[in-house]
Every structure is written in structure tokens, then in C-alpha cells.
């Protein structure tokens, strides 16, 4: 079963990839595969950061509950 991707797991994997690339031990095929995987993870992380970069939105609990009940938001 594949583990669910999270921001922290993605960041950890990117750091691991860069360490491997910095070591200079990776061959061409592995390097290109790692770079491709790393780019994909960086894009994912950028998306996660973008999601919390829209400006702080403040809601009261009762307001959120009402909006959820009205189907305006995804629970």
C-alpha cells in the first residue's frame, strides 16, 4: 500500500534526492529519474504552500458549520 503523500513527506524526499544527487554517486539514468521525481515533489510542495498563501481567512465555528450544512464548503 502506498503511503499518502504529505507536505512533510514530500519535503523529506526532496532533501533525500538532493543529498543523493550531491553525492555524485548517481548514474545518468538515476540522476534523470531523481530530477524528474524531485521536480514533481517540488511542484506538489509549491501547491501546498500556495494553499496557505491566499491570505488568512477567519471564520467562526458556527459560521463554518452553517456553510458546511449549506454545502458551500467541502468538509
Amino acid at each position: 500500500m502506498t503511503q499518502e503523500r504529505t507536505y512533510e513527506s514530500a519535503v523529506g524526499r526532496v532533501e533525500e534526492i538532493i543529498r543523493r544527487l550531491d553525492s555524485g554517486d548517481a548514474g545518468l539514468r538515476e540522476t534523470l529519474d531523481l530530477v524528474r521525481e524531485g521536480r514533481e515533489l517540488v511542484e506538489y510542495c509549491a501547491g501546498e504552500l500556495e494553499a496557505v498563501n491566499k491570505g488568512l481567512e477567519e471564520l467562526r465555528l458556527e459560521e463554518l458549520v452553517a456553510r458546511l450544512e449549506a454545502g458551500e464548503l467541502k468538509a
Binding site: V14, A26, T31, E48, L59
Partner: protein
């Protein structure tokens, strides 16, 4: 202080100033008393009574006593019942009610903080409850929960008017976080607070998108914070599936919710920072660096391999050129060597020829002698068979006219003309054919 006008004369012969209006003096006394340092006192409660606005009691020990008073609302928030003889610690300062024309003055120690001392105090109660919850393993479940480093939605349980609200916002802004914040405003210090806090926590946790909940309240007396030591509330928090970060009171206070929560922080600002461990601005910058490093690695890997391939592609041609030069050199050396060999051969040949000639010359001399001897031997042999020697002994050789020897009578008859060779000459003879038998 202004003395009373001349209408009222002072006491004759008195050295003291005055007379002053008592109200002014009372007001000044009040101010002076209030300048006394605010302190904590310990003693036993006597004569406790509750009025509409304030509660009153005396604090006594063996050496003295002090009248005390406390605002009723503050006292009620403590949720304690005082009785004569209970040992308490109070915090506050001197105060004086100057009274009026219609009311009596009174001095009291104005209590702003109070806690029970000895076996019955709140701390002892808390400690017992803390040990029980810990024994049941309720301090652990929250700490086992995975916490998102970058939550998109955060719930906050706090008082609507408190400073904690601003502190939470300040902490989140410091992180550069701009997600969704869900406020659950509840009372945070009266006796009804605990069930409301627990209900708010349950509701926030029930909303799937809330990834972490902060429970925040500013400082206060332990009695103020007692709502956060409620057993039911602590059990609720322990069993929530959403991590709870608590920040209740000052860093010296330790409420039970701090023990059961996933993380406890000293201030609401820190709680907000703990809820978003990632500094979003730094993370964005770090991500840009990571992306650049990945791009550089990819580019460098391809370029270095391309250079290596280019070098390898040129290598065969360079190899051939190198070998061609080597072969040409080898060829030149071979030619030179061959020339030297031929010259050396010719020289040797001359020498050999000379040797052979000399050898032949030597061989030639010795052969001639031998052949002479052989010829001599042959001549002797031939001489032994020479017919002339037979003829010399008295025989004659019969031959035809042409000299061909004839060996039979028949041949002689056929020849007709014969020659008889004697050692001293030849006699011609004619055959008489009539005789037939020769003659």
C-alpha cells in the same frame, strides 16, 4: 491638605496642624494605604460572609488578624467554598473605604487572588487528578497523533475578548501562514467554561478539514485556569483524533489540559507557531532553491555526459590517426632496415663469392690430377682390349672394303671384297663364290 476655614477653631495650645475635614483626611488615608506594596498573605479564614457585591472574612494567625474583602464575581470564579478555620493564601493590597455621612468607613485587605492552602487546596486536587489520568494512559494518545507541518485549516478555542486571540493571529502571521482559521469562542474562566470548551473541541474535531486545534487562554490565577483542569474536558481532549495544542496561563502554570494535549506551549503565540511548524516564507525560498538545484543537477548530468560522449565519438578518429602515424613510422623504419640488410647481404655475398671462387679454385686443382689418373687407368683398360695388340700377336682382322669388321664366313661371302688387316699392313682379298667354301 487645606485646613478648615476659620469658622472652626482648632484646639488651643495644640502643636498639631489642622483641623482638617475628616473626608479629606480619609481620602488621603485611602491613597496612602493603597501605596502599600501588594503582597501575598497566609492565614486562616474567620467570619466569612458573602454580600451582593463582595465577600468578607478575616484572615488570622497567632500574632494578628486582618479584615479582607473580595469582589463577589472574582470569588465565584474560584469555585471554592470557604469556612472558618480553612487555611488560605491571598494576594492583594491594603484598601480603605472612607465612608460618608450615611455610611461607616472600613479598612480591608482587598483580595484579588486566593487559593486554598494545605490538604484541601486546588493544587493537591489537581495533582491527584493528574496522577489518575496519567495512570490511565490519557497523556499519551494525543502525543501519538501525526501533526501536519503545513495545515490548511486550524481551529482555535479561546475567549472572544481575550488577548490570546491577537497572540494567535500574531503567531500565524509570523509564520507567513494564510490558511483558514476557525474560531470557537467560549467562556474561559467561569464555572460553565469546561463543558463549553469540550463541546467546541468536539465540534471542531468533527469537521474533517480542521487539521489541528489550539486551545488558548492568557494568564490568570490557578482558580482562573481551573476550567482547563476539568476531568471531563481532559478526557475529551485525550480521545480526540485531531491534535490539540494548549496554551493556558503563564509558563509557570501547568493545567491538566497541558498534560493531555499533543503539545503544550507557554504562550498563544508559541501555540500558533507550533500549529504551523513550517515558516512558510522560508519554505517558499527553500523550495525555490531546491528546484534550482534539481534543475542544475539535471542539466549538469546531461551536459557532462554529452561532453563525455563527444569525446568518445572523436576517440576512434584520433586513435586511427595515431596508429596511422605509428604505422608510417614503422614502414619507414622497415624500409631503412631492409636497405641496410640488402647492403649488408651484398657485402656478405661478395665475401662468399670470393670464398667460393677460392674454394672452387682449390677444388679445381685437385680434380685435374685425379681425372688424369682415371684417364690413365681407362687408357690401360682400353689398351688391354685393343685388337691391334691381338693382331700384333699374329692374328688378322677381316673387314669389308669400308673397314667394317666381319665376324662370319657368310658375311665374308656376302661382302665379296675383303680386307685382311695384319700388324704390318692390309691385304685386299676377293672371295671366290664358286668355291663356295672360301679360300
Amino acid at each position: 491638605m487645606q485646613p478648615v476655614t476659620a469658622v472652626t477653631q482648632g484646639i488651643a495650645d495644640s502643636e498639631l496642624p489642622g483641623p482638617y475635614p475628616v473626608g479629606s483626611y480619609a481620602a488621603q488615608l485611602k491613597r496612602r494605604l493603597q501605596e502599600f506594596a501588594r503582597v501575598q498573605l497566609v492565614g486562616e479564614v474567620w467570619g466569612f460572609r458573602a454580600a451582593r457585591a463582595r465577600v468578607y472574612f478575616e484572615l488570622r494567625d497567632a500574632r494578628g488578624a486582618l479584615p479582607c474583602s473580595m469582589w463577589r464575581t472574582e470569588f465565584d470564579e474560584l469555585q471554592v467554598a470557604l469556612a472558618d478555620g480553612m487555611r488560605v493564601v491571598v494576594g492583594g493590597g491594603c484598601d480603605y473605604y472612607p465612608g460618608s455621612a450615611a455610611s461607616s468607613p472600613s479598612f480591608s485587605f482587598a483580595v484579588s487572588e486566593l487559593r486554598l492552602a494545605g490538604e484541601g487546596d486546588l493544587l493537591a486536587q489537581l495533582e491527584r487528578l493528574r496522577r489518575r489520568l496519567h495512570g490511565e494512559g490519557l497523556f499519551e494518545p494525543q502525543k501519538m497523533l501525526a501533526r501536519a507541518r503545513l495545515p490548511k485549516t486550524i481551529g482555535v478555542v479561546t475567549g472572544e475578548q481575550g488577548k490570546a486571540r491577537d497572540d494567535v493571529l500574531a503567531g500565524l502571521r509570523r509564520r507567513g501562514w494564510g490558511g483558514r482559521l476557525v474560531w470557537a469562542f467560549v467562556p474561559v474562566q467561569d464555572r460553565h467554561a469546561s463543558p463549553l470548551i469540550a463541546a467546541a473541541l468536539r465540534e471542531l474535531a468533527a469537521i474533517g478539514e480542521v487539521e489541528v486545534v489550539i486551545v488558548a487562554r492568557g494568564g490568570g490565577s490557578l482558580a482562573d485556569l481551573f476550567a482547563f483542569c476539568d476531568e471531563t474536558l481532559c478526557r475529551t481532549v485525550a480521545l480526540l483524533r485531531v491534535p490539540v495544542i494548549s496554551s493556558v496561563g503563564h509558563h509557570t502554570d501547568r493545567t491538566l489540559i497541558d498534560d493531555v494535549a499533543a503539545v503544550s506551549c507557554s504562550t498563544p503565540t508559541h501555540a500558533a507557531e507550533a500549529a504551523v511548524p513550517v515558516d512558510c516564507r522560508a519554505a517558499r525560498a527553500g523550495l525555490t532553491v531546491a528546484a534550482r538545484r534539481l534543475r542544475d543537477h539535471g542539466r549538469r548530468a546531461v551536459l557532462s555526459r554529452a561532453r563525455a560522449l563527444g569525446h568518445l565519438s572523436r576517440a576512434p578518429a584520433e586513435h586511427v590517426t595515431r596508429h596511422r602515424k605509428a604505422l608510417h613510422q614503422r614502414l619507414r623504419e622497415l624500409r631503412a632496415s631492409a636497405r641496410r640488410q640488402i647492403e649488408r647481404g651484398e657485402a656478405l655475398e661478395g665475401v662468399h663469392l670470393l670464398v667460393l671462387e677460392r674454394s672452387a679454385a682449390r677444388m679445381q686443382g685437385s680434380g685435374r690430377v685425379q681425372r688424369g689418373r682415371e684417364l690413365e687407368r681407362l687408357a690401360l683398360a682400353l689398351a688391354a682390349h685393343d685388337p691391334q695388340r691381338t693382331i700384333a700377336r699374329g692374328y688378322a682382322l677381316v673387314s669389308d672394303r669400308d673397314g667394317a669388321p666381319l665376324g662370319s664366313a657368310a658375311a665374308a661371302r656376302d661382302a665379296g671384297d675383303l680386307a685382311l688387316r695384319f700388324h704390318d699392313g692390309v691385304v685386299a682379298v676377293k672371295v671366290d663364290v664358286q668355291d663356295g667354301r672360301g679360300g
